[in-house]
Amino acid sequence: MISINDRKFLTEALKVSKRLDGRSMEEQRPMEVTFGSQFGHVELTMGKTKVVVRISAEITKPNERRPFEGIFVVHTDIGSMASPIFENNHQSEQEIMISQVVEKAVRRSGALDLESLCIVAGKKCWEIRADVHYLDFDGGLVDATCAAVMAGLYHFKKPDVDVDGGAVTVCDMEERHPVALSVLHLPVSVTYGLFELKNDETNEVEKVECVLDCTAIERQVQNAEITITINKNRDICQISKPSGVSIEGYRIVELCEKAFQEALKVTEMIDKALKEDEEMRNKGNWKALLSAENDRYEK
């Protein structure tokens, strides 16, 4: 819900390239990642948007059609805790689109190596489940979810397993060091809102402005949205532009280039946060003490 006054104010401000929160048109809200004490527990805030991701692992039977691969599911359930516009247990259109984009970005892009999750071909494999909880909604849900899930996958460690013939023994986390997941690349989602700025008198469209990372208020005024998921190897993992205002092909290519720059920043941010968390867990340098590696080998 937005009043006509608010809408006009926003569009007039965009015409002179100003946004409500003072950011530039190409500035994304800074993301902050904090890890919980358990592996795979991630809290990500992006401005006012808050997202919590928990990664868990379970041993199960693999899909009949793919006996050499594990299973990876992403579960996003947006409830009214995030915002009153969402309903609990009801799949509104917006939720379907968000969960589909997240699934394409994180699951179908092959970020997680599924073959590494196989334990006994055709019989046992790991099922990695990412549960995303939305605590607060202020736009940018897809971007936040994607970054949080990827950070969680990098952070998570699954228990080590011993395979003896057909029997699988799961080792305790205390006895044997848990094993990190095999993540192949880091897809980062970037969402642009498209605004049709019209001349007030003639009601003709002057230009279409692309604004990075819209907040909830900006989302209500936008005419269309485009979500680009890209990784630091310049691979576009997915693009989703449901209809609304049309833009030329070359502008989409430009947006991808800008999205690539953003992806580099987010990748760096996640790497940094992971390193800090690693150092904190490694206080006292116990890993070096417990390691059986010989000093002879230079690192």
């Binding site: 009949e64 179908r108 997915q238 209809s243 049309s246 833009i247 280039e257």
Partner: protein
């Protein structure tokens, strides 16, 4: 030509489907001359490895990189049971579309100042090579419904019919790649037949890239192997209204792929226009 394939790779083959190989090719070039069917097409599994794009520039069904499959469309195929209807055969993908409306809406909540469009895509279990029983809460179908609906809302002058509903029912009876573009094209034709006011033709086309070669209009085999995207455009503009990409595409290939699919979508509009005019002429002459 006949091949059988295992439906699952389990060690004990309890059950498997048989696939009829395709005879001949089904191409249409961008300047609308249709190629003759190639008589000696050998199905992919009898060759050691099918080539998506051979060194001579031929694809699995004998097309070149810039040739779309045969696009055959008819409108007003269901004169009694629907307000507007169309039938699209794009290569081996066959789609029937009916439009009912503008009519009394199912719920009046959100229709005060404009018409509400509802889209329902029904995929038959026998439409694919392997029979797949349709799931009821299939999110992919729900997403397709939303994409088609939003694209149509962009082109339809909904403000001219407030407090009404336009129901679009798309039934897919055969699939061979290019499902979303075929549905969109069929929906546009059916809307025209129903007399719903549109700003311009709505068309869609898919295209992908294989080792630096852009390929237009992919069939199932190509869609499984090659990253591809689908665009939807309104009118013959260079502006893209809808874009979906679900597979990994290197950024350098984005521009040629977009350009290829744009030209494909424009070519489709010409074919649709010809079919609509033919039908119009037929109706005028019938009196």
């Amino acid at each position: 030509m006949f091949v059988w394939e295992l439906s699952d790779t389990s060690a004990n083959c309890d059950s498997f489907w048989i696939r009829r190989g395709r005879l001949g090719s089904d191409t249409g070039t961008l300047d609308q001359t249709h190629r003759a069917l190639l008589p000696s097409y050998s199905s992919p599994l009898t060759q050691s490895r099918h080539e998506i794009y051979s060194p001579e520039g031929l694809r699995t069904d004998g097309r070149r990189w810039n040739e779309i499959r045969n696009f055959d469309c008819k409108i007003n195929t269901h004169p009694t049971s629907a307000d507007g209807s169309s039938y699209v055969e794009w290569g081996h993908t066959k789609v029937v579309c009916t439009v009912d409306g503008p009519r009394e809406p199912d719920n009046r909540q959100n229709t005060t100042d404009r018409a509400v469009i509802s889209v329902n895509v029904n995929v038959a279990s026998f439409s694919t090579e392997t029979r797949i029983k349709r799931q009821r809460n299939d999110k992919r179908l729900a997403e397709m419904n939303i994409l088609i609906r939003q694209l149509l809302e962009e082109a339809v002058l909904t403000k001219l019919n407030p407090r009404t509903q336009i129901a679009v029912n798309i039934t897919v009876i055969a699939q061979d790649g290019g499902l979303l573009p075929a549905c969109i094209n069929a929906a546009c034709l059916a809307m025209i037949d129903a007399g719903v006011p549109l700003t311009d033709y709505v068309s869609a086309c898919s295209s992908g890239v294989y080792s630096n070669n852009a390929l237009i209009d992919l069939n199932t085999l190509e869609e499984q192997d090659v990253p591809f995207l689908t665009i939807g455009v309104i009118g013959k503009s260079d502006k893209i209204s809808m874009l979906t990409l679900e597979t990994q595409l290197p950024m350098a290939s984005l521009e040629p792929v977009l350009a290829t699919s744009l030209s494909g979508a424009h070519a489709i509009q010409d074919i649709m226009d010809a079919a609509v005019r033919k039908h119009g002429k037929h109706r005028l002459e019938r009196k």
